[in-house]
């Protein structure tokens, strides 16, 4: 479980390779997710992820100042995090790395604080992560929650993706709108060693 105000000394997080249990713990415990940069255009990755997470039972809130007054799959857009007006468990940031810091700074003004700040595939800002972690917020960078949910449930195996999990248990057939078990046996962590190494090299070069 994730405590909203974790006072225990936090181990320094390795953002190059996440243990599956870290991601699993986040996806199993958050209920509401505010998606900053959510797009109503149905070929954008944020639209894919928003729709998938809503179908898997998360309470999704689209945040995008350009679309206030409109709805995304029945959920009204809000202009900013402070306009949400209720506690949210996780902020999912669909912005380029250079636009992450202001979003994190705004998230840190929320009361109560979110439990998790998640930066999408390609998004990484180590300084912003450190800031959030210093007040007990869990941070995930350069990952997609849809892909991670699909991977840990092995639903993504349907596309030939290496879920990095094993199970000898019979699961119910997945249907739309159903939450899936994410508690399969992990095969050595969140990503493959080679792809983690490549992402780390890219971060170091940039």
């Amino acid at each position: 479980m994730i405590a909203r105000n974790d006072t225990k000394k936090r181990q320094e997080m390795n953002h190059d390779a996440y243990p599956d249990n870290y991601i699993r713990g986040i996806l199993n415990s958050v209920k509401s997710i505010a998606m900053v940069g959510a797009s109503p255009v149905n070929v954008r990755p944020s639209y894919f992820a928003f729709k998938y997470l809503a179908q898997r039972g998360y309470d999704m809130i689209p945040v995008n100042p350009g679309h206030v007054g409109k709805e995304l799959l029945g959920k009204p857009f809000v202009a900013s995090l402070s306009d949400i007006g209720r506690p949210v468990d996780m902020i999912d940031i669909f912005r380029n790395s250079s636009h992450i810091m202001p979003v994190v700074e705004e998230a840190l003004t929320l009361d109560p604080l979110p439990m998790v700040i998640w930066m999408q595939l390609g998004g990484r800002d180590d300084a912003a992560a450190l800031k959030a972690e210093s007040v007990g917020i869990k941070v995930v960078m350069n990952r997609c929650p849809k892909i991670e949910y699909g991977r840990l449930s092995s639903e993504i195996s349907w596309m030939g993706v290496n879920s990095r999990t094993l199970s000898s248990k019979r699961q119910p057939a997945p249907t739309q709108g159903m939450r899936l078990s994410l508690n399969r046996m992990s095969v050595g962590g969140g990503d493959t060693a080679a792809s983690d190494r490549a992402a780390k090299n890219k971060t170091e070069q940039s």
């Binding site: 243990p19 599956d20 249990n21 699993r24 149905n42 070929v43 990755p45 639209y47 894919f48 729709k51 998938y52 179908q55 595939l121 390609g122 997609c144 892909i147 699909g150 092995s154 639903e155 993504i156 195996s157 349907w158 596309m159 030939g160 993706v161 290496n162 879920s163 990095r164 094993l166 199970s167 000898s168 248990k169 019979r170 699961q171 119910p172 057939a173 997945p174 249907t175 739309q176 508690n183 399969r184 046996m185 992990s186 095969v187 050595g188 962590g189 990503d191 493959t192 060693a193 080679a194 792809s195 190494r197 490549a198 992402a199 890219k202």
Partner: protein, 426 residues
Amino acid sequence: MSDRLPGFSTLAVHAGAQPDPTTGARATPIYQTTSFVFNDADHAASLFGLQAFGNIYTRIGNPTNAVLEERVAALEGGTAALAVASGHAAQVVVLQQLLQPGDEFIAARKLYGGSINQFTHAFKSFGWNVVWADPDDIASFERAVTPRTKAIFIESIANPAGSITDIEAISTVARKAGVPLIVDNTLASPYLIRPIDHGADIVVHSLTKFLGGHGNSLGGIIVDAGTFDWSTGGKYPMLSEPRPEYHGIRLQETFGNFAFAIACRVLGLRDLGPALSPFNAFMILTGIETLPLRMQKHCDNAKAVAEFLAGHPAVASVNYAGLASDKYNRLARKYAPKGAGAVFTFSLKGGYDAGVSLVSKLQLFSHLANVGDTRSLVIHPASTTHSQLDDAAKVKSGAGPDVVRLSVGIEDKEDLIADLEQALGA
């Protein structure tokens, strides 16, 4: 639920497979169906738009094939895989994602004869230009790089002579050139060599060979290492640019470190059509469960047979990297410490005629054009697999007129040696 890495044999049995949710069937069922019913119009649209995980049509994906894909991805240490109808289909689909007409790729000169043919003739008709390099001369790869180079292609253990390629050295050339390294790992299988651990960005296989292992089913597979950044410089538009086929999706942006496997599926397999039969996927999956056991036996038998041949008076030379005296033994010890594979060549003092005589007298070794079967196989490459090449190219690729190729099976090694002895001696 600790993050513990299971061993290779556990992955060979379990990865990708789970009890069937509907029936509880423990073996992976053969989903012998062309198509899959949608829940509703929105579900159909989500699947067609790549927004949801699920099945549409077996030319694009099939649940039996998906188990095979995840299993090979897990064994190779890749992020995702795509199964196709043959090893040749895998090569077409991979290069279609990387090359535009007029582009080039560099390939090692020592390759399966069918690949040399495919690259030289069929791909030329697509405007994909192969530039040959010598895997024993790393600098020849560097010299071959031009601004139009889009990929480098090598075999980990090269056909026909079983020579070992220095994957790490060539991956350094590929990184410097900013192009992906494609490794055909058919003759090694991931049990002996995992090219991704040595810098490969894409791995391809003919599943027909050691992975399937029983000489009964054709298949091919493409494994995405998840290591290459496709976004730089617009060099790989199939991955980095909005795709009109999918209303403007950018595959790398959407699928991250398995975007290449998705591109192969939704742009390659979907449009070119070389789908793998689910029945073949089932047969190959069953084969993979015993890959570690078979592969070790193949290697142990091959070494015993190679040692026997090396000491036989009728044999001029043996090319087997598992022999301490072989010029590739240093690379074999580095890349394939469990064994140097089971495909190798030797030449007879009696030349072409002695080769023909040997093949005709063998009783256990089957004379046919395949490798990686449970049964031991023999062929004369110059007159068969490499017959399309001219004489100079035959010698360069290790298939000179006096050369005989063996694929050593998993029979008792004493029986294989006795068969060779009677055929050589009489």
